[in-house]
């Protein structure tokens, strides 16, 4: 098992060419880094790609640096998303590395990990190498690629995991599909001792979820739409946690949606299983009540669940039982969504709305503290061995500048993503990312904000 931490900057992107970057002074911002117990106004000095200094407000004067007046704004550790779908190769009409990474940069992310359920799936070393090369040409922020656990995502035979690791795969997943066969998962977890990379699991018992399009409960009863019971997720988590415990392996559980799933992860953690997990902004802010609209923008897998499930996820973010927030950014073309709900593709885009949606729906009403949200949004690299973004001097500059007073209608100005299937579209949100610094370089400036400082 690889234990040494990797830098975000070790991921591939077009900023990795080492060209010089002008120094930055972000003057007078409120700097919040809960891991370093920082919450105060500072001038943040970024020099040579590192956080060089957190100076007294108004005191930093750097020759030749770009100075950004950030009074009333927030500087946070940048976010890291361990779960995005960039549809490359195969469905570049829905997203490609450039548009997907632009969406991530606009959402305040300094790094993303792309899933392997492309067309064809990423299951050979050559696939990984080709994607990494493309990322070095196109990606606006550092990105990594997971490879499939099984060949062709068919769930039958393992991929050449060691060669995939050598080619630079960040981990393994058959995300989009569960690994139905417990014997195959066991073999993969045994083989992990050689390969040393985490395995991320989409947990769903396909027998229990068969025929379902939404959460099974009162709303599905009223709509007559086939239900996906919450136990289709939690029973598989329990199974896989038991296998991981038996093999002494490490697993990362993707997109928790249900109260029973939180309980399954908590009990595995309590017995010492090496298990981490994530939850999405949509599961933390919305419930299956939204599906009453029959709008396919609210269709995703796992489905939006009940209010009790949502509350359990929020509580698990607070307690740390859920390690991080991941968007499961899943672009789909409009013709896959402009169909009756049961026929529509599953998935929503989420990179550009993650912080504003969570800030508006959880922090503003006092449900979650800002520090807790920042911690969860920036922690996504940890299960995959990446160093956490930190704002203390000497660390690589991975930071985001946010205006929490800014109000906007999600999607009204269009999206950076090539797809538009957002479950927050049209919602009035508070909080907007103005600038993202990834691996020491400015990866994004919000248009109107960029004009202001030009």
């Amino acid at each position: 098992m690889a234990t040494e931490e990797r830098a975000v900057a070790s991921l591939d992107w077009r900023g990795s060419d080492g060209a010089p970057q002008r120094d930055l002074v972000i003057a007078g911002a409120r700097v919040v880094d809960p891991r370093e117990e920082i919450d105060a106004a500072h001038d943040v000095v970024v020099r040579g790609g590192e956080v060089a200094e957190l100076a007294e407000p108004g005191s930093a004067e750097i020759e030749g640096a770009e100075v950004i007046d950030a009074e009333g704004l927030l500087v946070l550790p940048a976010f890291f998303d361990p779960h995005v779908h960039l549809r490359t190769p195969g469905r570049e009409d829905e997203e490609d590395l450039e548009t997907g990474s632009r969406a991530a940069a606009a959402g305040g992310y300094c790094g993303v990990l792309a899933m392997a359920n492309t067309q064809p799936p990423v299951d050979t070393a050559a696939d990984v190498a080709a994607l990494r090369e493309r990322a070095r040409e196109q990606a606006a922020i550092p990105m990594g690629f997971l490879a499939c656990v099984t060949q062709g995502m068919r769930g039958e035979e393992l991929t050449e995991m060691a060669e995939l690791a050598d080619a630079g795969a960040i981990g393994f997943t058959d995300d989009g599909l569960p690994i139905r066969n417990a014997r195959i998962l066991r073999r993969a977890l045994q083989y992990q001792r050689l390969v040393g990379l985490p395995i991320a699991l989409h947990e769903e018992d396909p027998e229990l979820s068969a025929g379902g399009s939404m959460n099974e409960g009162a709303v599905s009863a009223l709509l007559g739409i086939g239900g996906i019971p919450s136990i289709s997720e939690s029973t598989m988590i329990a199974r896989d946690a038991a296998i991981a415990a038996f093999e002494g392996a490490r697993i990362h559980v993707q997109h928790l949606s249900a109260v029973e799933s939180v309980a399954a992860v908590e009990s595995a953690k309590a017995t010492g299983v090496e298990i981490t997990c994530e939850a999405t902004p949509h599961h933390l802010t919305l419930t299956d009540e939204e599906v009453r609209s029959l709008d396919a923008r609210f269709k995703m897998n796992p489905p939006l669940r009940s209010e009790a499930d949502r509350q359990a996820l929020i509580e698990a973010i607070r307690s740390g039982a859920i390690d991080c927030i991941a968007t499961d950014h899943a672009p789909h073309s409009s013709d896959e969504k402009e169909v009756p709900f049961e026929q529509a593709a599953m998935g929503v885009i989420g990179l550009e709305t993650a912080f504003p949606a969570l800030y508006t729906k959880l922090v503003l009403p006092g449900v979650l503290e800002l520090a807790t949200l920042v911690r969860a949004l920036s922690a996504g690299g940890e299960p995959f061995g990446f160093a956490l973004p930190r704002l203390t001097p000497g660390n690589a500059a991975n930071l985001v500048l946010v205006d929490t007073e800014a109000e906007w209608d999600a999607g009204a100005d269009g999206w950076e993503s090539r797809s538009q299937n957002s479950c927050f579209a049209g919602m009035r949100l508070r909080g907007r990312v103005l600038m993202t610094v990834a691996a020491g370089r400015v990866a994004y400036r919000q248009r109107s904000f960029a004009m202001g400082v030009a």
Binding site: E216, A218, A221, L222, L223, L294, P340, F341, Q343
Partner: protein, 322 residues
């Protein structure tokens, strides 16, 4: 009312108005010439993505009795067979400027989706397992012809509730009319949380069926056997079939059709004096006439009519302020 998509969208006053209108159309059916000129020159498209005998024929005849022009499109043998999307099919048919589109579709929400793509009034003739509002309205009409009111009446809906759009629409409609509704069937065919969702009582056996004023049996589909919802049709029939031993003398019997004789109903009750099954079909015609009237001739002028001028404004003479 702009569209008829779901009983859930209706208010009691809407239902009362449709019932009253249907009563006035009942008289038309007793004339020698069973036709009125009400919708002359109006176009109705009937678009059925699922097999249907009684609903499609009932809507078509209702439209013809109101003198509307009807175009019927079935999914087989049409462009739908060639993979055309619902959106494109609606765009094509909307080019004929129909005043109404009647649609049946195998998936929930299809009718609602269509409203975004057409100026026409949309009638949901069944969307997946979601709702079948015209069926619930004709059933309500049928009952009101026998009972003065549904207030306080006990209605049992028996059978495969999970897969039944009729059960959902009827439960909501009967409740809105003041009835107390019980749904009854094998536990595998009753949706989770149904009591809360539909505001009904739930029973897994027929022991208390005697309390019912009305027994509404649902069609039991053979394909459910393969999915382990019930072990056998024989066991289903032995536990849930409405027969002359279970049906009391004062209890009214209904079924949306088509009936599986010997499964959900025994032959003697289908043809018995308490059976309203044929009356339901008769009601279907007048209630659907009333619905088409409500959507096409009643209420406010339609957006498509008013919009004709708005889309092509008269040119502003040069030199005058726009």
């Amino acid at each position: 009312m702009k569209h008829l998509l779901a009983i859930e969208d209706l208010e009691r006053a809407d239902i009362d108005r449709i019932m009253a209108r249907a009563r006035s159309f009942a008289e038309v059916g007793r004339r020698d010439i069973k036709k009125v000129p009400t919708l002359r020159g109006r176009t109705i498209v009937s678009l059925f993505y699922e097999a249907s005998t009684r609903t499609s024929s009932s809507f078509e005849l209702a439209a013809k009795r109101l003198s509307a022009d009807v175009v019927s499109v079935k999914s087989s043998g049409s462009a739908v067979d060639k993979g055309e999307s619902l959106k494109d099919t609606i765009a094509t048919l909307s080019a004929y400027s129909p005043e109404a589109i009647i649609i049946r579709h195998p998936y929930a929400g299809a009718a609602q989706l269509v409203t975004a793509w057409t100026q026409a009034a949309v009638v949901n003739a069944g969307d997946g397992k979601h709702e079948h509002p015209s069926q619930a309205l004709l059933d309500t009409y049928t009952l009101l012809e026998r009972l003065d009111s549904l207030e306080g009446k006990r209605i049992w809906i028996v059978g495969d509730v999970l897969h039944s759009r009729v059960a959902r629409s009827c439960a909501l409609c009967f409740r809105m009319m003041g009835a107390e509704v019980t749904i009854c069937g094998p536990p595998t065919l009753i949706p989770r949380d149904a009591a809360a969702a539909l505001g009904v009582e739930v029973s897994y056996d027929l022991d208390a069926l005697g309390e019912a004023d009305v027994v509404y049996a649902l069609r039991m589909q053979h394909e459910r056997m393969g999915e382990s919802f019930v072990p056998s049709l024989r066991e289903y029939a032995s536990h849930y079939q409405i027969d002359s031993r279970r049906l009391g003398h004062r209890q009214l019997l209904m079924h949306p059709g088509p009936v599986n004789r010997g499964v959900e109903l025994s032959s003697e009750v289908i043809d018995g004096p308490a059976s309203l099954i044929t009356a339901q079909v008769e009601s279907g015609l007048v209630v659907r006439m009333a619905l088409l009237y409500e959507l096409m001739a009643g209420g406010e002028p339609r957006a498509s009519e008013a919009g004709a001028d708005a889309e092509m404004p008269a040119p502003t003479p040069i030199g005058e302020p726009a």
